[in-house]
Amino acid sequence: MTGPKLIDPYGTPAGADPRGALQSITLDLDRTEGESVNKMKSTHLEPFPDPVLEVPDDLKRSVIVSSVDYLLNWARKSSVFPLQSGLACCSFEMISAAMARFDLARFGMEAMRASPRQADLLIVAGTLTWKMAVPLRRLYDQMAEPRWVISMGVCATSGGPYYQSYSVVPGVNHIMPVDVYVPGCPPRPDALLYGIMQLHDKIRRYSLNGQAAGRE
């Protein structure tokens, strides 16, 4: 078995770029990325309004609104698959919530999906920086509707301890509409579970609202 060849970037032959094959060509890629970050920072100044469901009073009392809708929402609520998108400290509480002691699988969230195409729920777990906001918005756009967003922890909710920082988004609702805010820094896994139960309640109410689920 052979180990990797050790390279010495300062012993390269004359004429070759000392930075290696890749780093000599990536400055342009970095510039393009920087432009998109700057663009996002200059355009996402106002937060999105929170998508609140107003359930009319007369519908609240009626038992059967639409059985099909009810069934559909029950099925949706029982199989919300979250995207594996830990950003910072809160991601460790999210992982803890998925592990043996708190066991997210009890809520029908059997697996954290690695691909946004297979996920219904984006748990923004941790501090969102402007540099990360561009990929995160792209992940959100790639998720199929109906989709929901939980802002986990105060960093995602408002910037939290880093509110005044030069590189942190002051609240993920500047980037995408948020359904449930979970306070805590980081929230205990139980607090996250409570937030998920609130989301379940919300999903159930879509049928009463007469609105297609997951649309703003």
Binding site: G3, P4, K5, I7, L22, G86, F92, V168
Partner: protein, 370 residues
């Protein structure tokens, strides 16, 4: 017969199931061989060092928690040592013992996380990680008894800790230490003899020790190459000169050695905690507010204090201008500096080894980017 292929550049991350957070790599492959790697940082750069310039010395403790979020207590300890050095504070003995216990517990938790995630990267989906995290939960419960929080503890204060341990902590700690030893034994039984782990980790990403030292790499990575360098032993801070422990060394300097050193170090940490429990003495856990006021105003000057963190030398450099907030705070982040040799480790290796090597470095994005 060698097959010629066109090199192709692949972007991994920042959101990737295996990148331990928001890390991004541009990797150039030739077939399955890695030709070149460029790490891209900064997806979690939160500006802690700038924010620290407008907070008081006690308030900054909360920022250090969130820096390396799997070893908050160790961050607290490094920062508090720097403040005590800067302001000339004499800590209370009981507080020092308590923070040694807390930081050794945190080191165990951090090593357990590192091991669990390394095996996750090896393809052992779930099981080893679940076992490691189950044990970590017990340690987090102990932290909750001490300070009321699981991850972002903010337990330490200049001169000691903010509150004494409750009565139920000591029996729980004793029980927990036994559990930890059992778990480590189990880990060794099912992993250290496992043929798959052997064939995936032995002999991959070997680094010579001269290169490691030259690249400022410290901690378990350096000890896995046979260099006996542990700040707890070579430059004892707190009361580490009053406890005895073995330094774990391995000479292979490959992925297996790095993993092995971490697993063995958890046992040494248990040994240190046992000695701390024996030697801890009653008394106050922090100096009174007459000696160390809430608003500390250190004299003009600078101080650098480093501890042996879970990932290497974790240092804080503080500059004071005599006011209640530091003029400048700099963190010597071991995770960032340990990545210096990532290219050397990966180039020439296979695609399958990429995340194993990456996991064996044990980095934490909160500390890399700060």
């Amino acid at each position: 017969m060698a097959i010629k292929t066109q090199p192709v550049t692949v972007n991994l991350g920042p959101q990737h199931p295996s990148t331990h957070g928001v890390f991004r790599m541009r990797v150039m492959f030739d077939g399955e061989e890695i030709v070149d790697v460029e790490p891209v940082f900064g997806y979690l750069h939160r500006g802690s060092e700038k924010l620290a310039e407008e907070r008081t010395y006690t308030q900054i403790v909360t920022l250090t928690d969130r820096m390396d979020y799997v070893s908050s207590m160790l961050n607290n300890q490094a920062y508090i040592l720097a403040v005590e050095k800067l302001a000339g504070i004499e800590p209370s003995p009981r507080g020092v013992w308590l923070r040694m216990i807390a930081s050794e517990l945190q080191r165990i938790a951090s090593h357990l996380v590192a091991t669990g995630f390394l095996l996750q990267d090896l393809g052992a989906l779930g099981t080893p990680l679940i076992y490691a995290m189950r044990e970590r939960e017990n340690i987090l419960d102990l932290f909750e008894m001490l300070c009321g929080a699981r991850i972002t503890n903010s337990y330490l204060r200049p001169g000691g800790v903010f509150m004494d341990a409750p009565a139920e902590f000591w029996p729980a700690l004793d029980r927990g230490l036994g559990d930890i030893l059992n778990t480590v034994d189990e880990l060794e039984t099912y992993l250290s003899g496992n043929e798959i782990v052997f064939s995936r980790t032995k002999g991959t990403a070997v680094l010579p020790k001269e290169l490691l030292i030259n690249a400022s790499i410290t901690g378990p990575m350096l000890r896995a190459s046979g260099v006996d360098w542990d700040l707890r032993h070579r430059a004892p801070y707190d009361y580490y000169d009053r406890v005895s422990f073995d330094r774990i060394l391995h000479t292979a300097s490959d992925n297996y050695a790095r993993y092995w050193v971490r697993v063995q170090e958890t046992r040494e940490s248990v040994k240190i905690i046992r000695q701390c429990i024996e030697q801890i003495e009653p008394g106050d856990v922090r100096p009174s507010f007459d000696e160390v006021p809430r608003l500390i105003r250190p004299p003009v000057g600078d101080a650098y204090a480093a501890i042996e963190g879970s990932k290497g030398e974790l240092g804080f450099y503080l500059v004071s201008d005599g006011s209640i907030a530091p003029y400048r705070m700099h963190v010597r982040a071991s995770s960032l500096i340990n990545l210096t040799l990532l290219r050397d480790m990966l180039i020439g290796g296979q695609f399958g080894d990429l995340f194993v090597t990456f996991g064996s470095v044990d980095l934490n994005m909160g500390e890399v980017d700060r």
